[in-house]
Amino acid sequence: MSWVILVMIAILVIPIYEAAQDEDIWQRMLAFASIATKTSLMILVISVLRDDWMIGVVGVLILSLGNASLMLLAQVIRRVNES
């Protein structure tokens, strides 16, 4: 089962690299949204791997709260760009 985590880490490197090298703010936001989803899914997989319910709760919280806060951040950046 740990091969799943290894493959996930390998895929996670792609958006991290993109967020580090791209200057455009929206490309960065896209990469961050991808990182948020992937990290929370990794936490869920680890919770199933360790059979730990508490880690799973944290993963689900990050999954829903992280995406919602990224939406708010996108709105704030749009307003800042407007003015």
Partner: protein, 131 residues
């Protein structure tokens, strides 16, 4: 064949297909395409891949179904809404209803579509555009 072996095969299959979707959707991030192109691939592949992975986990440990169900529902709702909001914010840079598109014509001039009219940067002539 034992039923637990069958469930294992199904769950690992779901996880592997989900990981393949992840890779397929994330790879175009490295190219120099527009935000909308990348967003399209990423929102489709990320949501579907993540949901497949969660379904694979659900088959492995059905005891934790409330938590994994919550993860499935929040993935389906939030990722779609986030994709829409990101596209809206990235394209409509404050131009009223966000109706603005930009591109290049065959001569390399920048052409933008605003409020149903075509504007070209190469010459100041305004090109009317019906429909």
């Amino acid at each position: 064949m034992n039923s637990s072996v069958l469930i294992d095969i199904f769950s690992y299959g779901c996880i592997a297909v989900g990981l393949w979707f992840w890779l397929w959707g994330t790879w175009p991030l490295l190219g120099h395409r527009s935000v909308l192109y990348k967003l399209h691939g990423l929102s489709v592949a990320d949501t579907l891949g993540s949901m497949l992975i969660v379904v694979g986990l659900l088959m492995k440990i059905p005891r934790e179904w409330p938590l994994l169900m919550l993860a499935l529902i929040s993935l389906a709702i939030w990722n779609t809404v986030l994709g829409y909001v990101l596209a809206y914010c990235a394209v409509g840079h404050g131009h009223g209803h966000g109706e603005m598109l930009e591109g290049a014509d065959t001569q390399g001039r920048t052409v933008s579509l605003r409020y149903g009219k075509l504007f070209s940067s190469g010459n100041s002539r305004e090109v009317s555009h019906d429909g």
